[in-house]
C-alpha cells in the first residue's frame, strides 16, 4: 500500500465519521450529497502544481470528488464573489486560496463562511488563526517570505547585503518588483532610511526610495513573471516570494536568495469558503479546507512550495534546512518584518495607490 492510499483511507474514515454524525440530523442529510466538482481558485505555475499534487489530487483520491483549479487572478475573483453574494447568485468558486490581507477584507465584507467547526483546526500553530477577526472566517495555511532573489552571476562578490543595491545604475532595467509593490512596501521604508516604527504613520522614506528606484526602470509583474524573467535572463534581482525563485532554480536556472540587513517581509496565505453555495457544496468545500489542514496535505503541499506550514512539527525540505526563507523559530521571525493584518487591511490600498502613482508617472 502506498502512502497516498494510506492517507486517503484515513481521511476517508474521518469524513465517514462526519457523515455518520450528520445522519443523526435528517435536515442536513442532503448536505452530504457529493457535488460534481470542487472549484478552487489558485495561483498558477509552481503554486498551482503544488496545490494539485499536495492537496487536490489526494482529496479527490479520498472522496471521489474531482477538484478543478481556477487560475483567475485573486483580485479579479474578489469583486466577482462579492457581487455574487450581494445579488444572491451562486459564487463562481468553492474555495478561495488567497492572501491573508485580501481574505480579511472579504471577511470584513461578510462574504465568508465561518470555519470554526473544522476538526483539523485543533493543534495548529497560532499562525493559523486570523488576527483581528472573530472565529475563523478564513484559516491561514503557511507563512512565506518576500526574499531578495538574485542571479549569482551578476553578484560576483556574493549575496547583496542591502536592498539599496536595487538603486545601483548597474542594474538598470534588471530589477523586478510585484506590480503593486506588495511584499516590498514596508521594506522600502526601512531601506529608505526609516524604521519599522514609521509604518504605517510615516511611509515617506519608502516613497522616496521608490522615486529613486524608478530611475532604475524596474520591471513590475506577478508571481509567474519572476520565474519567467529569471529563466529568460531578463532580470538580475527581484523582491519576490521564495517559491518563485525556487521554481526557477528547480528548472535549472542559477538563482539564489537572501535576507538583506533591512529584513524581508513575512506574511501568510489562507483558504476561505464564500457564502451562498448550495448546502452540499458548502459542506464539501469546508471538507476541502479541512483536508488541506491535515498533516499529510500540509506536509506535501508546503514542502512542494518550500514554505513553513501551520501544522506543527513538519521538517523542512532538504534544500531549505536553515534557509532564511523558511522561518520556524521565533529567532528566525525576528530577522523578518511582519506587519499585522489589520494594519495591512487598512493601509495596503493606500500604499498600492501611491506605488502606482510613483511608477506609472
Amino acid at each position: 500500500m502506498t502512502t497516498t492510499d494510506f492517507a486517503g483511507r484515513r481521511t476517508f474514515l474521518k469524513l465517514g465519521a462526519a457523515g455518520a454524525g450528520a445522519l443523526a440530523m435528517p435536515g442536513i442529510l442532503r448536505a452530504q450529497d457529493k457535488p460534481s466538482e470542487i472549484i478552487v481558485r489558485a495561483w498558477g505555475g509552481a503554486w498551482g502544481d503544488a496545490l494539485k499534487e499536495g492537496v487536490a489530487d489526494p482529496f479527490t483520491a479520498a472522496t471521489g470528488i474531482p477538484v478543478r483549479l481556477d487560475f483567475t487572478e485573486d483580485n479579479e475573483i474578489k469583486p466577482k464573489i462579492w457581487a455574487a453574494v450581494d445579488q444572491g447568485r451562486i459564487p463562481p468558486i468553492h474555495v478561495n486560496w488567497d492572501t491573508t490581507t485580501n481574505a480579511t477584507i472579504s471577511a470584513l465584507r461578510g462574504v465568508t463562511v465561518d470555519l470554526s467547526d473544522l476538526s483539523n483546526l485543533e493543534g495548529l500553530l497560532p499562525l493559523a488563526k486570523p488576527t483581528g477577526l472573530e472565529g475563523y472566517p478564513l484559516v491561514n495555511t503557511y507563512a512565506y517570505v518576500y526574499v531578495c532573489a538574485y542571479r549569482p552571476e551578476a553578484f560576483p562578490d556574493g549575496a547583496p547585503d542591502s536592498w539599496t543595491v536595487m538603486l545601483d545604475p548597474k542594474f538598470k532595467g534588471r530589477v523586478a518588483l510585484y506590480d503593486d509593490g506588495i511584499g516590498f512596501n514596508p521594506i522600502a521604508v526601512i531601506a529608505g532610511g526609516g524604521s519599522f516604527e514609521d509604518i504605517p504613520g510615516n511611509m515617506e522614506p519608502g516613497y522616496e526610495f521608490y522615486r529613486k528606484l524608478k530611475e532604475n526602470a524596474p520591471l513590475l509583474g506577478e508571481d509567474a513573471d519572476f520565474t519567467t524573467w529569471f529563466q529568460n535572463g531578463e532580470i538580475d534581482l527581484a523582491c519576490t516570494i521564495s517559491v518563485n525563485a525556487r521554481a526557477a532554480r528547480q528548472s535549472g536556472i542559477d538563482v539564489e536568495w537572501t535576507v538583506p540587513k533591512e529584513g524581508c517581509k513575512v506574511d501568510t496565505d489562507g483558504l476561505w469558503v464564500p457564502r451562498g453555495l448550495p448546502a452540499n457544496e458548502e459542506h464539501w468545500a469546508k471538507e476541502f479546507v479541512n483536508f488541506a489542514l491535515s498533516r499529510e496535505a500540509q506536509e506535501k503541499w508546503c514542502s512542494l512550495l518550500g514554505l513553513p506550514p501551520v501544522f506543527p512539527g513538519i521538517a523542512p525540505p532538504a534544500d531549505l534546512v536553515g534557509d532564511p526563507s523558511y522561518p520556524t523559530t521565533p529567532a528566525d521571525f525576528e530577522r523578518l518584518v511582519s506587519v499585522p493584518s489589520p494594519v495591512l487591511v487598512e493601509n495596503q490600498p493606500v500604499w498600492f495607490a501611491k506605488f502606482s502613482e510613483i511608477f506609472q508617472g
Binding site: W43, G44, P92, N232
Partner: protein, 266 residues
C-alpha cells in the same frame, strides 16, 4: 501601378515594412509551436508535434474550445437578423432623428470595451444571468454590432433603389420585394458581416474576461490568463489553431463574396 521609379520604391518599400510587421508574429508563432523544448526560444530546439499532442490531451482546452464555438455561434445568429434589418432601415427608410440613431448605434464603438465589459458584468449580475454562457454570446454581438451594420449597409448602398421601385411597380407586394429583391442583393454584405462577427467573437477576450468564470471560460480568456502566468509552447499550438481558423475565414470570404468586396467604394 504606373509612375516613376522613385514612386515605386517609396510605395513598395513602405508596403514591405507593413507586410513584415503584419506577418512576422504569425510566422513566428507557427515556427515556435513545433519546438521540442520546454520553453520558447530561438532557434527552436528540434522539431516535434509534442505540444499539439499535449494540447489535445487537455480536457480543459477542448471544453473551452467547444464553449468558444457556442458563444461565437450565438453571437453570429443574433447579429445576422438584427444587424441586417437595422442596416436596411438606416439606409433605405426615411427616419426622424437619423443622426441621433446613428450615433446611438455606434455606442458599442465609442464606449471603451473595458467599460462595456464591466458594466455588462454589473447589469447581467443584477438580472441574475451572469454565470451562464449564452449572455456572453449576446454581449459579444452587442459590442461588435456596428461591424455587422456596416457590412450590410455597404451592400444596401450599392443596390440601385430603382430595382426595388421597379419590382413594386410591377405589382410585387412589399414583403415579396424584400425577400426576392432586397435580401439577395445585400447577401454579400450579410455573409461578410456574419463571418466577421463569428471571427471577432471567437477572438474576443476582454468583455469575456468579465462575463465568464471557470465554469464558462472561453479559449481567448484562457490564453490571456496563461500569458499572464506561465508562457509555455502549448500556447503557440493554440495560437496556430487560431491562425488556421483565420485562414479558413479568409478562404471562405474570398470564395463566397471575394476579398475585393472592401475595395468597392460606397
Amino acid at each position: 501601378m504606373r509612375g516613376s521609379l522613385s514612386k515605386r520604391i517609396a510605395i513598395w518599400g513602405l508596403v514591405w515594412v507593413s507586410l513584415i510587421t503584419l506577418s512576422l508574429p504569425t510566422l513566428i508563432v507557427i515556427g515556435a509551436s513545433f519546438t521540442a523544448g520546454e520553453i520558447i526560444r530561438f532557434p527552436p530546439e528540434g522539431f516535434s508535434l509534442r505540444w499539439y499532442g499535449e494540447l489535445w490531451q487537455l480536457d480543459s482546452f477542448k471544453a473551452a474550445l467547444a464553449r468558444t464555438f457556442y458563444v461565437s455561434a450565438i453571437c453570429t445568429a443574433v447579429s445576422l437578423p438584427v444587424g441586417t434589418l437595422a442596416a436596411i432601415a438606416t439606409v433605405r427608410y426615411r427616419i426622424r432623428f437619423r443622426n441621433a440613431v446613428q450615433v446611438y448605434l455606434l455606442l458599442p464603438f465609442t464606449i471603451p470595451l473595458v467599460v462595456s465589459g464591466i458594466s455588462m458584468m454589473i447589469f447581467f449580475g443584477e438580472i441574475r444571468i451572469l454565470g451562464q454562457l449564452w449572455p456572453v454570446g449576446v454581449a459579444l454581438c452587442i459590442i461588435n454590432l456596428p461591424f455587422m451594420i456596416w457590412s450590410v449597409s455597404a451592400s444596401v448602398n450599392a443596390i440601385d433603389p430603382e430595382i426595388e421601385n421597379a419590382a413594386m411597380n410591377c405589382g410585387a407586394p412589399p414583403l415579396q420585394t424584400f425577400l426576392t429583391v432586397t435580401l439577395p442583393a445585400v447577401m454579400p454584405g450579410v455573409i461578410t458581416g456574419g463571418l466577421l462577427m463569428f471571427i471577432l467573437a471567437f477572438n474576443e477576450f476582454l468583455v469575456s474576461l468579465f462575463l465568464t468564470d471557470s465554469r464558462t471560460v472561453t479559449l481567448p480568456v484562457q490564453i490571456y490568463n496563461s500569458i499572464r502566468s506561465v508562457i509555455t509552447p502549448d500556447l503557440a499550438a493554440v495560437s496556430v489553431l487560431y491562425i488556421a481558423i483565420a485562414l479558413i475565414a479568409v478562404f471562405l470570404l474570398d470564395r463566397l463574396v471575394g476579398l475585393d468586396i472592401f475595395l468597392r467604394s460606397k
